[in-house]
Symmetry: D2
Subunit: 285 residues, 4 copies
């Protein structure tokens, strides 16, 4: 059975719901408001246990999942939530061996998910224009041992990122539509494009940009995660939830033409649906 | 540049939104209501193109992503939607090399996502009690070349699946609470447990079961995917959406005790939150 | 006890969930796929009963509620759903005696809710530019005996509607921002303004317009109604739901100035929230 | 033009989003963190204006709408949110002249909406078992001048409320299923029943109870209100929202029989839908 060793990152969960990531080190202790737990009580033992402080308060010792890492790394930027990160990985069709370009890196939360998805054999290239954020992401990924699968650049995407024919590109930035010429070049034909944008105005601007470049099969989606109180005899949603993380835009890099785009235009399709008496927006099964 | 070859599975997207998976074969044609496209026009050329029928109707030729596979494979059971499949993969912390047990297999949609996540080096073991469904899943996975990463059993989970110390278990069945003794044994300490259930009554029953076994860090969540019409100048959600696929329950396999469970009981936490003047259900950041 | 009489509108609910409004008439029958029910079996008896066709199929006989009326009147326009109609009535602060201006009338669904809210003593004035729609609304309201509380004009709002100092105005039209000069005049100081718009682009245009007129306390909201299958032992949401009816915009008619608007600008508030370390968008309790 | 006078309740809205109800009195002032505004500056003038403190901070002076009253009255119980209150009023089919029974009263938020809907000519009878809550509700309704339309009892519903043949009953209590015998008696045939419950377990228990009494046309629904930041050039949902207020259950009081209930059973309908190849839960248009 696997046991914890110095350098391992462990998730400590308190009975009050508090979740903290700690890096195990000999001669260190985990300090809480309710007493301390020496790391030596964790090292050499398996995770998946309950350990108590000297004051008797129990803590759960867990190997963190990727969702825990994303939520609990140090960050100075808006997080890409696990629900979105998971869906982005699937919609970019990432699996072991794929090559993906990300910009901007931010604190590296999504980068963790991308790296875990393409390793081993695949690679993530990620650009971040702000130096302090770039350095934080580098530290976060190093701690998790993910740097072999990631190349981080401290530069603007427009300066180029030494990649071509990548399988997927994800843009998490204010004006992704400014970079579509570059993305069109960097992405292999048929490649997967994605972006996350907080406002509807940005979504409209990106849709506009995509319609003037070689992208098709465009979709705009939103994911809402609704948590419940996990109580068998009083099951109910929590009182509050995250109402908005961002709009997700996905598209495919396609050799196309103005004529083809007109054929596939969603407006054209809306008119056709109306003509056919179908509910607007009903999916063709 | 990569080109399509016989045996490749291709996604054909029509201007009417229809999406079909086809397997390329010499001397075959793709037949639509608007004319045909010989496979020979696709073979030997890259995907990511627009090709027209002899009647002039254009079709998009794409390499299918995992989400396309899940949605478009043959199936005789309720689908696990891509939004849920993606989140399940993340919450079970799957990445290359991990070993995961699934029951039941169903038509194999989630199995595809699990296999893509753990390959190469990892493995999926999946049980399905119904013979016809088991055989369909096997055919679906074979077509996609995923059988090297998956072992399918046509049996009930309670008969055992020749696994132990797996990293994760996912139960997609009517009464998962009947199988918790087995899951407790099959899952390594600290391992990741998940389940998808359509009704609130089942969620309550599973929460009850989990509270009597060695599971903690339990959560119940729901994911809602809201699609938009991707029209820059008339951006809006579609008229209708999937309102419910299922409740997602996640937990960790933990060596615990009745006392520890009492400490971490969500009811206890609800009372404490009230006492502390916190909104019930507010997350402790 | 009240009994049904000729001219009453009755809601017939079949065991298949079908809901139909019928107007009771002597010597008439309600024809269904599963047999007929003579109106004479309903007239002279109370509603709230189960009545069967000659073939033995039971139908529920109910007095329709306003939500039933809205959903089941004849219509040639997009419906304002009951969930939205109810909320609009509350946010326009309508109660007996209030005077409200609506444009356009559409098939009269919302007009029914407005009339029921302000009667007796109040009044609804409603404009509709299209003749066929105007006439349909008139027939719908006449059947329900609501014409004493409603004045319908077949004209564009810009031609004026002979009202001033109304308590509330609701605009359900494509370009409500074109009419804000008129609304500013028609609405009494402090009066309530509302609008329903399907696209985000329209919402932005209306917000722009409101910010250049005497409106404040502006809000944009959306209501989602999630129906459940009402089965005690298998409680769960339905598979599909209406994903979007429209964005609801509310504001108050206020004597204001450019300086006051700057003070109350939501952008200014977003900056202040950030400065104060509050989550953007968190409500000040 | 109408002007404000002593005794009027006014809503003061600050540039920081704070909303406070005040009752105008001669020789009083409204005190804020940013200075004071003497009531004398409001009395004798119309609402719908911007007024500044002596320090120059502007406040919006508004006549409160019902939604503002519900949100801002003094309360010691969980609020019924305006979105739910509005929908309840519509689904109970309340309009001027109707008679409605409510239990429990709580702080009186929903009672305000019910009273405003049935006045004049209608009446609300409301029971509350806890004395302190009953007294608070009485004070809240008195301040708003609504007591002529409301009779408040400080007793348990099971002790009876001196009503019969009311048009509608609404139960906002922990175990409404305990009171269905009484409701069945108090409600006129065809009358409207509603309840609000926070947990799924309670919903199941109430559905069970309703199925053993004379109720049909049962529905379970949930309303989600999603607020947006009202900024034209950066339109987006707020970061957080209320995720759950409660499940809404509605039904009609009907003379029925076990056989009729079987015909209309939702399970029977689910089977039939499956048989007919319809999506489970699809509405029969």
């Amino acid at each position: 059975m696997e046991v914890l060793k110095p350098g391992d990152i462990v998730l400590m969960v308190g009975a009050d719901g508090r979740r903290r990531l700690i890096t195990l080190q000999e001669n260190q202790s985990y300090h809480t408001h309710r007493g301390t737990i020496p790391h030596s009580e964790l090292i050499g033992k398996p995770p998946g246990r309950v350990v108590s402080t000297q004051l008797g308060y129990p803590y759960l010792v867990l190997e963190p999942g990727v969702a825990d890492l994303i939520r609990n790394i140090k960050r100075i930027t808006q997080i890409v939530y696990p629900k979105d990160a998971a869906y982005i990985v699937m919609r970019l069709n990432l699996s072991a061996g794929k090559r993906v370009l990300e910009a901007g890196t931010g604190s590296g939360g999504l980068t963790i998910a991308l790296a875990k998805a393409v390793m081993p054999g695949g690679h993530v290239v990620s650009c971040e224009v702000r130096g302090d954020i770039h350095r934080l992401a580098a530290r976060n990924l190093e701690k998790l041992g993910l740097l072999p699968y990631v190349t981080l650049f401290n530069r603007d995407l427009s300066e180029g990122c030494d990649v071509q024919y990548v399988d997927a590109v994800f843009l998490d930035m204010k004006e992704p539509w400014q970079h579509l010429d570059y993305v069109e070049e960097a992405l292999r034909p048929g490649g997967f494009f994605g972006s996350l944008l907080p406002t509807t105005n940005q979504v409209s601007a990106l849709l506009d940009g995509l319609s003037q470049h070689n992208f098709m099969d465009i979709s705009v989606e939103e994911l809402l995660l609704r948590p419940y109180k996990p109580v068998a005899e009083r099951l109910r949603p929590t009182d509050r939830m995250i109402a908005h993380s961002g709009y997700l835009i996905f598209a495919r890099r396609v050799e196309t033409s103005d004529e083809a785009r007109r054929w596939f235009s969603p407006i054209r399709r809306m008119h056709r649906d109306k003509y056919l008496g179908k509910g607007e927006g009903e999916e063709d099964a």
